[in-house]
């Protein structure tokens, strides 16, 4: 049995991801420079693959840092308050910050991170997300660099999981309905 059998179809191919990330990197290369190196903050676990591919194409000096968060109960609440399991290793005070996310959905988690970061007095905060689902948005959040706007489908792969599976699928795929319906009923 292969994990690829659970995938209904490919939404974004490896080649499309590669080309789009190159374009995003080029966009960022125009904005940032060695004179004021930004910190790229990867939100774990989902964004690690996006971070690995994006940062390898940046021509300006930068640092990477990681944050791992977890919701308190099931799913995200409207307050968006999350538990910080791993905080940043370095201070962002006075620094330019780029939050690197795999997907922006309701926006609650990102909104919480933005509010949390604002208290640390960074010089600037921008958001880079591989996927954006605007139709799911419940709270307005600024998103500066977007890989792909996608419809409200059950996506996985390239860092995104479903029940901790499929993160390593090298493209963005749509899961067969019977896979997530089974789990919903379980």
């Amino acid at each position: 049995m292969s994990m690829f059998n659970d995938i209904e179809r490919v939404l974004v191919s490896e080649e499309e991801i590669r080309q789009r990330i190159a374009a995003l990197a080029e966009q960022m290369n125009q904005i940032y420079s060695d004179d004021d190196p930004p910190i790229l903050v990867c939100i774990l676990k989902g964004a690690f693959m996006f971070l690995a591919d994006l940062t390898r194409q940046l021509s300006f000096r930068h640092e990477v840092d990681f944050m791992e968060i977890s919701s308190y109960g099931m799913g995200t609440t409207s307050s968006g308050v999350v538990r910080i399991l791993l905080d940043l290793a370095s201070s962002i005070e006075g620094r330019q910050v780029v939050i690197v996310e795999d997907i922006v959905d309701t926006g609650h988690t990102l909104s919480y991170i933005l509010r949390n970061f604002a208290t640390r007095k960074p010089a600037s905060v921008r958001v880079a997300t591989l996927l954006n689902k605007p139709s799911r948005r419940e709270i307005d959040v600024p998103v500066d660099f977007v890989g792909f706007e996608i419809p409200n489908e059950f996506v996985m792969g390239y860092g995104l999981d479903f029940g901790e599976q499929y993160r390593n699928v090298p493209y963005i795929g749509i899961l067969k309905p019977e896979i997530y319906q089974e789990v919903d009923q379980a």
């Binding site: 292969s2 994990m3 080029e26 990867c42 774990l44 676990k45 690690f48 693959m49 971070l51 690995a52 591919d53 940062t55 390898r56 194409q57 940046l58 021509s59 000096r61 930068h62 640092e63 990477v64 840092d65 990681f66 791992e68 977890s70 399991l85 791993l86 290793a89 370095s90 390239y158 901790e164 599976q165 993160r167 390593n168 699928v169 090298p170």
Partner: protein, 186 residues
């Protein structure tokens, strides 16, 4: 556009194509060895920050289902020389008891960090415990820990890129380069 080679890098030790080929070979080997193990039972543990690039490339080339988890460590002293004392900043989210654990590490230097991790996981009674290490510097070794999958054996030079840093710099260069000695000799 390729990322320019920084002035601080004296030469490229391992270029992108060489790394890619070797990571693919390692992934093939791992995929054979872990064939038939259920997704829930096979866990790749990436060690932050250094191994995120290696983990991203290795994971997506595996053909066997698995989960991905992260662990963050820090040394006590803020010195370049590892003394062996390691502080656990963030533990894995998954319970490792009864699971097949593969520790994914960027570099094996003195060996203290990998030994710490190996002992940490060994004590948690996993079904099996192995290590995948991209680089080893045998000349630097103080303590031995088993390495099951090895990328490259390299001489004792300060290497940066592909996850490896010098004071948080050069971490995301797409190749592995040797740092000019004037950068770290003060």
């Amino acid at each position: 556009m390729p990322v320019p080679i920084p002035d601080s890098v004296s030469y490229v030790l391992l270029d992108e194509a060489t790394i890619e080929r070797r990571v693919q070979e390692m992934a093939d080997e791992i995929s054979v060895d872990y064939e038939g193990i259920h997704n829930e039972d096979f866990l790749l543990v990436g060690v932050l920050k250094g191994s995120f690039v290696f983990l991203a490339d290795l994971a997506r080339r595996l053909t066997v289902p698995h989960r991905v988890d992260f662990i963050a460590l820090s040394s006590y002293a803020d010195s370049a020389e590892s003394t062996g004392a390691v502080r656990l900043i963030m533990d894995t989210r998954a319970d490792v008891a009864g699971k097949h654990i593969l520790i994914v590490e960027d570099i094996l230097d003195t060996g203290y960090t990998l030994r710490y991790l190996y002992r940490l996981f060994e004590a948690r009674q996993p079904a099996s415990l192995r290590t995948a290490v991209l680089l080893t510097k045998p000349d630097r070794r103080q303590v031995e820990t088993p390495v099951h999958y090895l990328g490259f054996s390299i001489p004792d030079v300060w290497v940066v890129g592909y996850g490896l840093d010098y004071a948080d710099r050069f971490r995301t260069l797409p190749y592995i380069g040797a740092l000019k000695s004037r950068v770290y000799e003060k």
